[in-house]
């Protein structure tokens, strides 16, 4: 849209600002945006694949719910600490066997811990927890119950937020520590030292060891992984329902929305994605630089 039209035929317009050209300042050519590219390298999500991935989040939510359920039972005296201890022991041994089975399936023999090291760690856990449980029981005696609950809630939330959902096998420091802190706070409210010990063992199982096993499961048999997730979610909702119905409803709503609604939203909003690329982007080095070395 040259104002005069006449000089535009003789002199071609160039997309530069540093040169004086016979065009008005706001003049643009047809070729102005021809290098624009949209949505380069975008990944198309498929709904069920996303749901499968998101089930890990729902599963973790349910894990927290299961832990809280155990604690509620223990606090009301409905669950004897011995029972919980034995259950934990059996579950732990079972999980350890499964873990070993999965490890032998995969050929990653690069850094396998020996059984002795595992035994050492287990002895360390048990002895420390058992030794400290009388101390832990009196720890929050003078702190008000509301404070302890609030602190535990914040810490569990921090655990959920900072949990490494992409790669849960080496547990993230912050998430594990937050969960353990919360469980120590909650366990210190229980009536006896053995209760505290049982609760902490349970926390160790749920927050530290279970994600490792789950990761192995996801790598080796994706079908069973989905089944386990569904099982855990139902277990969490069911367990909470036996204590408080409202909590169970809330949990199930949360699980459903995280597992089904959020992926739906993601896939639906995918259409509106509009990324623009062009020569104005900063440079990206994508070439293999190794040939410079030779």
């Amino acid at each position: 849209m040259g104002a005069d039209g006449a000089p535009s035929q003789s002199v071609p317009w160039r997309k530069v600002l540093w040169e004086r050209q016979p065009f008005p300042d706001n003049y643009v050519d047809q070729r102005f945006l021809e290098e624009l590219r949209r949505n380069e390298g975008i990944r198309e999500y498929r709904y069920w694949a996303v749901v499968k991935e998101a089930s890990l989040v729902g599963q973790q939510l349910s894990c927290v719910a299961i832990f809280i359920t155990f604690w509620l039972y223990m606090e009301q005296g409905l669950l004897a600490p011995e029972t919980l201890l034995w259950t934990s022991l059996v579950c732990g041994l079972l999980g350890y066997g499964l873990y070993q089975a999965f490890t032998s399936q995969t050929d990653s023999c690069s850094e396998t811990r020996t059984h002795l090291a595992d035994l050492q760690s287990a002895a360390l856990f048990l002895s420390f927890t058992f030794g400290f449980s009388p101390v832990l029981k009196t720890l929050t005696e003078s702190v008000s119950t509301d404070t302890v609950y609030a602190m535990s809630a914040v810490m569990l939330l921090a655990h959920l937020v900072s949990f490494p959902y992409g790669e849960p096998s080496p547990p993230g420091s912050l998430s594990l520590n937050a969960a353990l802190f919360a469980s120590v706070c909650l366990a210190s409210r229980l009536p006896g030292a053995l209760h505290t010990f049982a609760m902490l063992s349970c926390a160790l199982l749920v927050f530290a060891l279970w994600p490792c096993l789950l990761q192995r499961l996801r790598e080796n048999s994706p079908l069973q992984f989905t089944g386990v997730c569904v099982g855990v979610c139902t277990g969490g909702v069911g367990g909470l329902a036996s204590q408080s119905l409202g909590g169970a409803v809330l949990l199930s709503l949360a699980v459903v929305s995280v597992t089904f609604l959020c992926p739906l939203l993601l896939v639906w909003l995918q259409r509106h994605k509009d990324n623009i690329h062009g020569p104005w982007d900063e440079a990206e080095i994508c070439e293999d630089l190794s040939h410079f070395l030779h």
């Binding site: 009196t138 003078s142 420091s173 353990l180 802190f181």
Partner: protein, 596 residues
């Protein structure tokens, strides 16, 4: 060009004669030091001046002539003028004064290269001068300013550098002044000749009325030599005793570096060594230092004897001793009450009950131990006080140091509490800070001095979090105990600090310099000020130079005896930080003991 002539006030009414003094090189000024009267033989004058020059090291010369004609002494003018040929000089001053007139007349004769002297001042002016009656008027090409100075004061005063904001501006006149002061101070041999000497020359200067002397001063000077020798002998015996190997064994050596009495003793030994050195003081600073030390030692001993006379009169010692044990008991009881309060719910704080009980009982047991120790000591306290009081005859500082040490010993339990509390608290703080890093998955990289991320093992994380939780919930209890005992410790440290500061004040305050400043303020000069004496148009300007005494603050700053200064070792911020992280504080530790 302005010619400045520094003229001593005492020579104002001197008989006619020759002006002896010095031309200050580089500056257009002359310092008149004395007047030599006639009759004299020029050869003797020359010899005398050379002799004085050799003795004093000042380039003395005959500056010119001085005439104050009395009745019946007329016609000297031409004689005086002829003198300039006898004493050949670059410039010849011819100063004359009429009886009953204030102003001086000055003529400057300069010598040509050829050797003959010629009057440079205007003939016409001279005529006019004579016509007017010669009222001290001089309209030469060179203006002359007379600066009158008091010779004795200038000779005795020490000019101090001016602490000015812009020293460059003042540098030139101050150097001229400095040279003038030095000239007057160094030409003391010139002033030994007095009116009653039956030498061949008679001269006028500040001491010409007769030399000042005091029998007492002379006697003291004579007596001081054997006294110094005796003191230094005592000191050498004392030093030899101190160096016996038994004193360098660990506990004694450690004690002597901690107890302030021993430090004061070593410090006083150093003082006495300085005082009794057989060499006389070199220079003004050394002299002032010695005098300050002597005066402060004397004052100190006087105060100490005063204190002693009070202590041993009316049995004050036994009263003190009787009051001491109940006081210690009272303090212990107060501490017990404080601990009982802490073991409850102090200030409504919720403490960890178990830890609270443990700590409280531990401290209570400690107090119990302490009280039994005090009661065991009770029969001996009076004796200790009685013999300790004797130390006051060495000076008040010894008594104060002893008091400080006794306070430290009697409140040892509070110090112990503080150390326990601080150690516990410090452990918790360090543990919490490193475990908090573990909680976030970080670690402290020692090599790079920064926080790096780190992947921990499961068991490390588990135990770390367990410990973090325990430490976090137990922190308030420990912190409260730490706070209370730190406050108690700070009170004692403050008291000891006041004692140490007063000892340090007595040791280092320049009493002699302050006394000089009060009584003989001209002795310590910071500069001079000029007052116009007579200023009439056409007359040479007459100024009176007065000495500005040194300010009191600069007296103290300049002449403060360098001591082990027990100033706070850290700044306030560093102190607060140390208190916060639970490091032990010794804010009044002496600098000398820090070296070991």
């Amino acid at each position: 060009m302005v010619l400045k002539i520094f003229f001593p006030q005492c020579c104002n009414r001197a008989d006619s004669g020759l002006l002896v003094g010095r031309w200050i090189a580089g500056h257009d000024s002359a310092v008149v030091l004395a007047v030599i009267h006639y009759p004299f033989i020029p050869g003797q004058v020359k010899q005398y001046i050379q002799q004085m020059q050799a003795q004093s090291g000042v380039e003395l010369s005959v500056l010119g002539s001085w005439s104050l004609p009395k009745e019946g002494q007329e016609g000297l003018e031409s004689f005086l003028r002829d003198l300039s040929t006898i004493f050949p000089q670059e410039r010849w001053l011819q100063i004359s004064r009429q009886m009953g007139k204030t102003g001086f007349t000055c003529e400057v004769l300069s010598r040509d290269q050829t050797g003959g002297s010629a009057r440079r001042s205007n003939e016409a002016e001279a005529k006019k001068e004579s016509k007017d009656g010669g009222d001290g008027e001089e309209e030469a090409e060179e203006k002359v300013i007379f600066v009158h100075y008091e010779q004795r004061k200038v000779m005795l005063s020490q000019l101090h550098p001016i602490a000015n904001e812009n020293p460059e501006n003042k540098s030139e006149p101050s150097t001229e002044l400095r040279e003038m002061f030095q000239t007057v101070a160094h030409s003391q041999p010139l002033f030994f000749l007095d009116k009653y000497d039956d030498g061949l020359l008679k001269s006028t200067h500040w001491q010409s009325e007769g030399r000042e002397a005091s029998i007492i001063v002379e006697l003291m000077k004579q007596a001081s030599v054997p006294l110094c020798i005796f003191i230094s002998w005592l000191l050498s015996v004392w030093t030899w005793t101190c160096n016996i190997w038994i004193f360098s064994v660990f506990p004694l050596c450690f004690l002597s570096s901690i107890l302030s009495t021993f430090i004061q003793l070593s410090y006083r030994t150093e003082h006495m060594r300085t005082l009794s050195s057989p060499k006389s003081a070199e220079g003004h600073t050394q002299f002032m230092r010695k005098a300050n030390i002597l005066v402060s030692v004397l004052v100190d001993v006087a105060l100490g004897v005063f204190l002693m006379s009070w202590l041993y009169r009316d049995d004050h010692i036994s009263m003190l001793a009787d009051a001491l044990v109940p006081a210690a008991d009272h303090v212990a009881q107060q501490l017990e009450e404080l601990l009982q309060w802490l073991m409850g719910a102090p200030a409504g704080l919720k403490m960890n009950r178990a830890l609270d009980q443990v700590l409280g009982r531990f401290f209570l047991y400690h107090i119990h131990l302490w009280i039994s120790y005090i009661h065991l000591m009770a029969p001996f306290i009076e004796g200790i006080l009685w013999y300790g009081g004797l130390s006051a005859c060495f000076g008040l500082t010894f008594a104060l140091s002893l008091l400080s040490d006794m306070v430290a010993l009697f409140t040892f339990h509070i110090y112990c509490f503080y150390v326990y509390g601080a150690r516990l608290y410090c452990l918790k703080i360090y543990g919490l800070s490193s475990l908090w890093r573990l909680f976030r998955g970080k670690k402290w990289n020692v090599l790079r001095q920064r926080v790096d991320s780190c992947s921990y093992d499961l068991d490390q994380l588990f135990i770390g979090t367990l410990l973090l939780t325990i430490l976090l919930f137990l922190l308030p209890t420990t912190a409260l105990y730490y706070l209370v005992f730190t406050l108690l410790r700070l009170v004692i440290v403050l008291f000891q600090g006041i004692l140490h500061l007063s000892v340090d004040f007595i040791n280092s305050f320049p009493l002699f310099a302050a006394g000089l400043r009060v009584c003989r303020s001209y002795r310590l000069a910071e500069g001079v000020k000029f007052r116009v004496l007579c200023e009439e148009p056409g007359t040479a300007l007459h100024l009176l130079m007065e000495i500005n005494p040194l300010k009191f603050s600069s007296v103290v700053r300049t002449y403060r005896t360098p001591t082990y200064s027990c100033y706070p070792k850290d700044s306030w911020a560093a102190l607060v930080k140390k208190l916060f992280i639970g490091e032990l504080i010794y804010p009044w530790r002496h600098k000398t003991t820090k070296t070991d």
